[in-house]
Structure formats: C-alpha cells, structure tokens
Amino acid sequence: MIPAPDLNLSVLLPIILVAIGSMTILMGEVLLSRADTVLGREVTESFIGTVLAGTAIFFFALTLWASGVAFAGGGVQVFNPDNPMYQLDPFSSFVTAVLALSALLSCALSITYLSELRINHGEYYALIMLSASGMMLMVAAVDLIAVFLGLELMSIPIYVLAGFDRRKLRSNESALKYFLIGSFASAILLYGMALLYGVSGGTSFEALRAGFDADNPMALVGLGLVVVGFAFKISMVPFHQWTPDVYEGAPSAVTAYMSVTVKVAAFATLIRLLAMAFGPLEASLETIFWVLSALTIVVGNIMAIIQENVKRMLAYSSIAHAGYLMIGLVTGTIEGYSAMIFYLIAYTFMNLGAFGVVVALANRGNDCERIASFAGLARTRPGLAAVMALFMLSLAGIPGTAGFMGKFKIFMAAVNSGDIWLLIIGVLMSVVSVYYYLRIPVLMYMREPEDESHRTEIASGEGAVLVVCALAVLALGLFPNRVPTLLFGDLDVLDWANRSVGMFFGG
C-alpha cells in the first residue's frame, strides 16, 4: 500500500476556481449554442457571449475574494509537504488577487468589442481563464518544473487569443509571431532550468539555493538562460522585438489583457525566483539587470516617440515601463520589491485604462489606431478624452496619479540602495516619455476633429472598467496608503505591497 500524500487543496483554491470556471464556460458555450431559448430569451451569439462573460467575471470575483481572504489570513502553506511545488503565502495570494482583478476588468472590457467584431464566443473567456490559471500557478510555484508548467499554461492560451480574430490577417500574423518567439523563449528557459538542475541536483527553489555554486560556469550559464527566457516574456530590450507587432495585430481587448497580466505574473515570478532561489548571487545578477534595465528604459522610450499607431506606442511604452520595474530587481531590497508590486498595480490600472479607451473607440472592429485619429476627441467624446488624458498623464508619471507614485517609490528605492546612475537614466527618460504621452491630450484638446469614424456611444461594461481604472489611478496617486472605498473602508495598498514581499525578508 502506497501512503496517500497529505495534500492541502486550499493552497490551490484560487487556481481550482479559475479552472472550474473555464470548464463551465466551455460546457456552457456548447449547451447554449444548441438551445433556442433560455428562460424565455432568444439565444443569439451576443447573448451567449454576454452570459459567458458574466460567468467568467463571477468566477474571477470568487477568486479575488478567495485570495483576498488568504492574504488577510497570512501564513505560509505548502500544497504537498513531501514535495513542495506550490506555496500559498502573502506574496502569491496578493499577486493572484491583482491578476484576478485585471482579468475580471479585461473580461468586462471585451464584451461589446468582441460582439462588434462578431467573435464574442465563449471560448474567448475560457481561454482568458485558462491563461489566468497558468499565471496563478506560476506565481505560487516554488519549483522550476511548476514554474515552467505555469508559464506554458499562461502562454499557450494567449497565443490563441492573439489570433482570436481569425478572419483578419494581422491577427493571425500576431499569433504566429508570438507563438514562434514564445516557444523559442520557453525552450531557452527550459535549457537554463536543465543546467541549473544539473548543477544543484534539485528543481525546488530550496535545492537551488543550497546547491548553487556561483563559481561554476554551468550554473551561471543556466541562470543566464533562465533570465533570457523571462526577458522574452516581459519584453526586456534586446528581447523586445516581438512586442509591438504582437500588440498591434492582436484584437485590442486581448492586447489590454496580455500587456497587463503577463507582465504582472512574470515579474512576480522573477521576484520570487530571485528572492528564494538566487539570494547569494545578487552581486553578479545586479550587473546583468542594471544593463538590461538601462537599455530597456532608453530603447522603449525613444522608440515610442516615432510611433504613429496608438497600440504600437503603448507597446513601446510598456517596454519602457518594464525597464522602470526592473530597477526594483536591481536594488534587491524589500523596498525595491514592494515598490515593484505597487508599480505593477498602478501599471495595471493605467494601461488597462489606456487600452480600454482604444477598445471603446473601435467602431465595428475598425480599431481607432492612428494617433492622429484622436484629434478633437474632447469635442466629440468629452468623457473618453478626459479619462484618456488622465491615463496618459499617469503613464508619464505626473504627480497626483498612480504612475507618479509608482515611479517615485521605485526611484526612491534606487536612491536608497545607491543606484544613482540608473536613477538618472530613469528620470531623464521619463522626461522624454512626457513628449509622446502628452501628444495625445494635445491632439484631443487642441485640434479640430478630423475623422468621425470612431464609435459614438459607450457600452456599460467598457464604461464601468474605465471609471474603475480612472478612480483607481487617481486614488492610488493621491492617497496610496488609504484608498477610500465605499464597501471596504480605507485600503492601505502600500502596506499590502510591503507585506506581500516582506515574507522573503523574514517578515
């Protein structure tokens, strides 16, 4: 008789919820498309899409609640004590909550956009949930194999989502490019993991930490390959070439989803990997990340200036933001990591918001993509123009917005750990970024409208997402340590960010 392992299923509760949600949606799609009427309502394609989007939002809300409760409870639990692959701790539950929230917002954002494109199928939401479950697995993983499993579960549905508008050539091209480059990156990552396993004799983070020998060239090559694998996922320069093409070609709602959540999940995993597995190596890693970070900030911001397409501009801006985020990795302090987590939250809201405006302007699937098409928007769509201006100010890091608070915390951490040159590069390039971010508000408020091809009314889902993002951007920028909410009282987001990474420093 083989003894049954003592599994702690509550560790994987958020992931189980999301996985059940995706299966429910798949079955719902099949059953609904065979029915004529449900509860007296005629079953149309958009009806199915809306119902299943509601299901996805419901399950994400459940996940958000479950991980919120787990975060409030604190403490560290492992899934299987004999072989710790997944771990429920403040860090994983906090990041899971952020992921669930951003996935929820992306689902709400997608409904009308997909209906207009006539691709509002249930599979879209099932794929979103599957990739979200992969991200949640990845941030809870404390073993290289578990990290890889989560990474693939995250990436494969997103390859499909990028090509979800399958009648459009550009969408297909984007999916294929992302698939090829993504699988290439996965292979590199796997090679690095294999070398690390060879060096340390184990795949768990604990074994890596114990068996890692920084003088062994094989260990350094393995570590380098793992960093390169992640660099592809979070589009660090020089591994960023795919980003603009993929972001431009994918449907805008998918771009909104993947530009935010993939970055949150991959950065969180990198933090955990560095803090738990490679603690002793920080000196040599610091140089690598210093160079990558400086390159990413400079190239991302400079390339964004010359873009004429909003989605490409936002893609380069997301590369630049990845560069700012990496400053936190360079510092390697609790302050730097918690600043990264806060920045990721701020980035989630402002980037989802910016892409949300692009989604809300898309008219029957024709994306309002040219930067010039924002001209005079303040006259034709004053509400949208106002929130777009807010998101652009926040992305540029103007005080009073979440983006400023995030950059301030990151730069502060850099000052305190003595990375003055990186700070100077970051601040100078932020000034450069103001030019291309403010172009859009200038066009919207100071030019006459030139074409009227964008949509003239906003759907309730999009409106709700934009309002939530705009309020969050303002609240996180003005009172990050006591965000006022109607339901839950004041929220201390800064303290949460500190507590989530505190566990890596014995807190």
Binding site: I2, A4, A19, L26, M27, E29, R34
Partner: protein, 117 residues
C-alpha cells in the same frame, strides 16, 4: 581496447573511399549532354498538369488533436493501472478528477462537430 574496432574503421574508410570514387569517376569520365527530355519527370509517372503547391484541407489534424486527449490519458492510465491496488481510494479519486477535464475536452470537441469530417 580500441584495436578491436580496427576492422570497423577499415570498412568505414573503405566505404567512404569507394562511394567518393564512384561519384568522382562519373564526374570525370561521364559525357554530359543537355536535351529537353532531361527536364521531364524521370522515366516513371505522368507530367504534372497543375501546380502541386496549393493549399488543401488537412483533415488529419483534427484526428491528431483528438488523439492528444486520449494520448495524455493513456500515458497516465498505464502506470496508474499497474499500481491501482496499492494506491487505494486516493489514487482512484485522483484519476477520477483527472478524467473530468479530459472528458469535458472530448464533449466540447464532439458537440462542436469536430468529429464530423
């Protein structure tokens, strides 16, 4: 120890030398004349009437995708079956839960018409 393999080495070298010699002799001595017949499909078969480079439906990919569902199942079921008695109820429940997503995948494929071709 390596001396035992001298024979193999001799055969390898001889093989390479003979193959190169055969090709080389043809290259040196063979006459080379060009005429239209040489550009036709050689000896057997018909000359083509349409370009073979066009797109055609590959129905088999459906079979391949469907196969993955059963393939993964089989990989896990064989070792599970071998120690079924030893695993007890835990093993049974674990496998039961494992088959649910697979079954859902199959039902989805079936109901969506993936099995009709």
């Amino acid at each position: 120890m390596l001396a035992e393999y001298t024979g193999v080495l001799v055969i390898l070298v001889l093989g390479v030398v003979v193959a190169c010699a055969m090709l080389g002799i043809h290259l040196l001595l063979g006459p080379r004349r060009k005429f239209a017949g040489k550009h036709e499909p050689f000896e057997c078969g018909e000359s083509q009437i349409v370009s073979p480079r066009r797109r055609y439906a590959v129905k088999f990919y459906m079979v391949a995708i469907l196969f993955v569902v059963f393939d993964v199942e089989a990989i896990f079921f064989y070792p599970w079956g071998a120690v079924f008695q030893d695993l007890g109820w835990f093993g049974f429940m674990a496998m039961f839960i494992f088959t649910i997503p697979l079954a859902i995948g199959l039902i989805y494929e079936w109901m969506k018409g993936g099995l009709e071709w």
